[in-house]
Amino acid sequence: MKKYLQLLKLSFDLYTTYRFNFVLWRVRQFAFFASLIFFWQAMYSNTTNVLGYNQSQMLTYVVGLAFLRSIILATRTSDIASEIKEGTLSRFLLKPIGFYQYWASLDTIDKIFNLGFSLIEITVIVALFNFSFYIPHEPMTFLYFGIIVILATVLHFFMSIILSFFAFWTEDIWAARWLFGIIFLEFFSGAFFPIDMLPVTVQNIIYATPFPYLLFFPAKIWLEQLSVTQIIQSIVICGLWTVAFAYMANYIWAKGSKNYGAYGG
């Protein structure tokens, strides 16, 4: 366990080494939050209801989503692909350290930073724009929300790792990552807009994929727009997807690492 704590400390050191970079990164996040608010405030200037969402719910959805992204989607595992390609993956393979644990440690520090700063930024934005951020009424909601966020985080961790593992076979996974990142992840997970704004048939197709469990369902749980049955259902399905992807990652790792070329040198 101590080795992973030491890793956390090192990643922390890295963040603080490059202060300027760090500040720019936060400014970018802040600008992103702010532009989302401007956009939706403009949308609601003439109406109080857009496809079943009132202004407070919609703003909570988009701001909350930006926040969820920073916890669930923030990951360093996309680096694994270049590690494989360039042969630098070797240095982990040589050491008595768990592969998943290593990357999970790096991700954890990323997420802690993101979480802390996003909370501050959201508070500032909510105060600045003076809108009502939706806070759940039911105490149980916080529990459900916590569970699904953890599951979704692990799910995305394995999804992203599997995508990186393709580098064992193909020279470049840039196109695959783009397709996955933009089309599926952003669109199907509800990162751009709530999925239930779409026609029912499209919704049903999307619900059959793992993507909405990453962002859309956690957001819906927070907004208390799901019944308890629906909540339990979404948590169970999210859990099943997570297990499935973890198995898949292990399988692909076993195959892929035999194919690993340890290039260079």
Binding site: L10, P96, G265
Partner: protein
């Protein structure tokens, strides 16, 4: 029991050949010609615990591939590999804790942080106790004289300084088996000597089994009694360094100082003329003709001084590789 055993090891890579240019790139999308490259082709050898051997061969001979297979990075295509009783590719933690692979042109230190941070991380990764860490790191830091640079960002260190720290980082857990892949590459002669002395000292002090590859014959000459020579993935020689000379050198080198200037043609009749400067000639003569040649020399020339020597190991190895390539 031997520390390392390699039996009929083969490692093939699949590569595809691309013609140069844009046309070639388009062709490669639709029609790819794959080829098997035999990086290591049926090699067997074994190494006793505590032995330090030199592993030599030209670029692309398969040295690094062999080391990567021995350290568990690569899966052997066929054949078997055992290190300290482990199968490297199973990548067990106990195995990883007893080996280290150091590559001269690779960096394993955290680039943006001082070397000490990497040492501390490795201490935790390898479960080294505080006492052991202090003892070993103090010892290594002193041996390599890096006290002053431990807290400077790795990327700001010179190549030599970085290599020293690289070695320390790899040795914090006191590996019993050490694979050194060109640890002296790119270093100046002074640093090369420091590294060499250090490797020798480590081998003695920790009774470590070491395989060393290097392009500098000096490294191998000073450090290894036994050498394994490979080329094009095949084993050419395995034995004492001095045996190479006996086995592959079928000639000796005559260095002659003459009293007068001499006719080049006449000397060429004795053997292969390597160089002729003023009154000094270096001639290589096949072993069976050496008596005859010296006799002729004294008969036909006025000789001031003559030495007969075995050829340089470096020359023999160069000829060995050159011969294989034809």
């Amino acid at each position: 029991m031997s520390a390392i055993q390699v039996k009929n090891l083969q490692k093939y890579y699949q590569v595809y050949k691309k013609e140069p240019g844009l046309k070639g790139s388009f062709k490669a999308i639709f029609n790819r010609r794959y080829e098997n490259v035999k990086a290591v082709d049926d090699i067997s050898f074994s190494i006793e615990a505590g032995e330090l051997i030199g592993f030599i061969g030209p670029n692309g001979a398969g040295k690094t591939t062999t080391l990567k297979t021995l350290s568990g990075l690569l899966h052997p295509t066929t054949g078997s590999v055992q290190v300290l009783g482990f199968k490297p590719f199973e990548r067990r933690d106990e195995f990883k804790k007893s080996i280290a692979l150091v590559m001269g042109q690779k960096n394993s230190l955290w680039w943006d942080l001082p070397p000490m941070e990497t040492f501390l991380l490795n201490k935790e990764i390898y479960d080294v106790s505080d006492n052991d860490f202090k003892k070993v790191s103090d010892e290594l830091i002193e041996l390599l004289d890096v006290q002053a640079i431990l807290h400077i960002q790795t990327k700001k260190l010179s190549l030599g300084q970085r290599m020293k720290c690289e070695l320390i980082a790899s040795l914090i857990h006191q590996p019993q088996v050490l694979f050194l892949d060109e640890p002296t590459i790119g270093l100046d002669v002074v640093m090369q000597k420091v590294m060499r002395d250090f490797i020798q000292e480590y081998n003695k002090r920790y009774k470590a089994t070491i395989i060393l590859t290097s392009h500098y014959m000096e490294d191998v000459k000073q450090l290894a009694k036994r050498v394994v020579v490979i080329d094009h993935g095949k084993l050419l020689f395995d034995g004492q360094l001095s045996e190479i000379v006996k086995k592959f050198a079928d000639y000796k080198v005559l260095t002659v100082d003459f009293n007068d200037t001499v006719d080049e043609k006449k000397i060429k009749a004795l053997g292969t003329l390597v160089s002729l400067q003023d009154r000094k000639a270096v001639i290589s003569v096949s072993k069976e003709k050496i008596a005859h040649a010296t006799e002729k020399l004294f008969k036909n020339f006025s000789v001031e001084d003559l030495t007969v020597e075995e050829p340089d190991i470096e020359d023999i190895i160069r000829q060995l590789f050159a011969r294989k390539k034809v």
